[in-house]
Symmetry: none
Subunit: 199 residues, 4 copies
DNA sequence: AATGAATGAGTATTCATTCAT
DNA sequence: TATGAATGAATACTCATTCAT
């Protein structure tokens, strides 16, 4: 029993979004009831529906925000970087790792609840998702073109690097021995090995 | 409307297990109703309960079988191999990739429905899961000890290799251009780069 | 999407009554939500409750106004008429037909939502309803007493005439080929035949 | 509190249909909850859904059965009759009155809940409804053609006769002073006067 | 070895209404 | 003279499961 916060008037929207994020992440979309969410938020069921038209909408909003933020972090990281492919790959890894760690909960939702989005929502958000993927693909292609990455199968390399970074969310415990900076360095190294980078 | 198969008398058990496998994989545990499973199996709801005590039991059986089989494939692959770490790592990758591809559906269930196992079942199956993990860890540790793998962080390497192999299930289409043998070779290469293998 | 009217300040009461009338008529009392009414009126839900204490009150007010007006029209029509029963019957038919046509919407509510009035409201309004009925009964009785109406069962005649007139609301389309004056004449004829009038 | 009957196993379907009929008639479609129906039937809510897919389906089934039966009674009554229009009109009145009285409850539903049918159901049942109407129209037209009915506006006559007969359901109390045979005779007379029949 | 009929607890969502401002 | 935010009870419907046969 976690103690239920008393929600100040007008703060309902965020309380509900926060609660939904936590419980969706913990139990999955179908394993979560809107009652659970409302209770966890310290509000009535009706208040939930005052702010959000449906459970599906709640999920879509979380996934959208998360997907959007991920893309923006990656995009920003690349724009701040020079044009050396190795540096740029490290930048993308850093953005991804930082994202998976600092937004662990919502990134888990975006990853595992994608199939529970309605067809409509899935189509709407797919472009954003692919845009993020393309950042990786283009970058690796460029490295290969320049001869600094030598991997024979760039798409497999890309998927492997992303999968390795994503998996961090499943085991990493913030506040433990390993710092975020450690992670960034380690997974940057791994990524460069995966694309077979030669200085 | 897929035509429902007429189940031969006595074949009920398998028909139900097969149906559960497909639908759990497609919609997730909580997104699946026992009615869906029974209907898909071409049997009555009561027949389902004749063969299986509960929905949870059905899930646990699938996860158990899948986890068991994975471990055995890995174990067998290693036993057939010599003691060269690189070869052994390739063997483990081969076992994993072949497993993810040939048992794509059940491996997806084992991966994503783990949290929906009851505490009891989760504890019961956890040993098996860890045993498989240990095969990887021990192997990489051995490679490092021998100086043929030079990765600084063997656990991160292990997680990355496994994550890369597992991700195959999400995109690979059997019957397409890429053969299973291609995959095994490509991901063996990637794995060896991840552990920083030097001939 | 019908465009919602902007309600001038102070005109809220009528806007709500009008909206309630339309929607109650269209979907029935239980098929209508107060939210529908407020939205249709272009006002907030709270504004509705500022002006009207409850949904039930809203219905009762509409039924009352309608029933009252019907009685007054009938009463006035009779007072303007001489004492010839046939003329008086035509006058009552005219009042009724004109009412059903010009107040089609509210008369439909009064007719079909009567049962959804609270017991209290039903009892309060019943006297008014019966008063209108008595106008018909007394008139027909008078005609029979004078020997100009020869129907053997005056109450059945009364119910039949009223039913015939009321039914007009279900099919008549104002602005079509049949004018209101046509209707008044046709249904006056029918009424006189029903009571078996002999000049 | 009416005592709830214990429903024998297997008799659920009828118990629910009967209960739905009664409560829909009493409170209207939207005024009735499926819980009310199940409780009234002496069964669980789930049993209701075992037998009927939805509340709407329940309504449509009742309306369909009622509309169908009404048409068949009218059709049968006409087929048993000779070709004299006056006799045939009396036959139709008899069928209608008997129907309204003996199937009072369902005929009230068919009359007042028509608008609560889904568009789909309404379209499906509309043909049946019109077929019944046509029996009346054709008959009156025939009487007019033969010169035995002299009404100037046959459609208004038709509507009036039907409205008069239908209204019986609103006031008639079986078991009172007036017998069904009385009603049939009285309303036959009224009908013949409405169409202005001359022997 | 299997079924048809039934259940109680739960689902997402909407209801009429009220509160604080 | 209004409103935005909130509520508790109800809504139609589905769930996993059990019972009698």
């Amino acid at each position: 029993m976690t103690s239920l916060p008393t929600v100040p008037r007008g703060a309902g929207r965020d309380a509900i979004t926060d609660a939904a994020r936590e419980i969706f992440a913990e139990r999955g979309y179908h394993g979560t009831s809107v009652r659970d969410i409302a209770r966890h938020a310290g509000l009535s069921l009706s208040a939930l529906y005052y702010w959000h038209p449906s459970k599906q909408h709640l999920l879509a909003a979380l996934v959208e925000e998360s997907t959007q933020e991920y893309f923006e972090r990656c995009d920003a990281a690349l724009r701040e970087e020079g044009d050396e492919p190795a540096d740029r790959l490290r930048a993308l890894v850093r953005a991804t790792v930082e994202y998976r760690v600092s937004r662990r909960v919502e990134s888990a939702i975006a990853a595992s609840e994608w199939r529970n989005l309605s067809l409509e929502n899935r189509e709407r958000l797919d472009g954003l998702r692919q845009a993020a993927t393309r950042l990786w693909s283009d970058l690796i292609a460029e490295g290969v073109a320049r001869g600094v990455f030598r991997c024979a199968h760039p798409e497999d390399a890309r998927r492997s690097v992303i999968a390795a970074c994503n998996a961090i969310a499943q085991w990493y415990e913030p506040g433990g021995d390993i710092t975020l900076a450690d992670l960034v360095e380690r997974y940057g190294d791994i990524a460069l090995r995966i694309v077979d980078h030669r200085g």
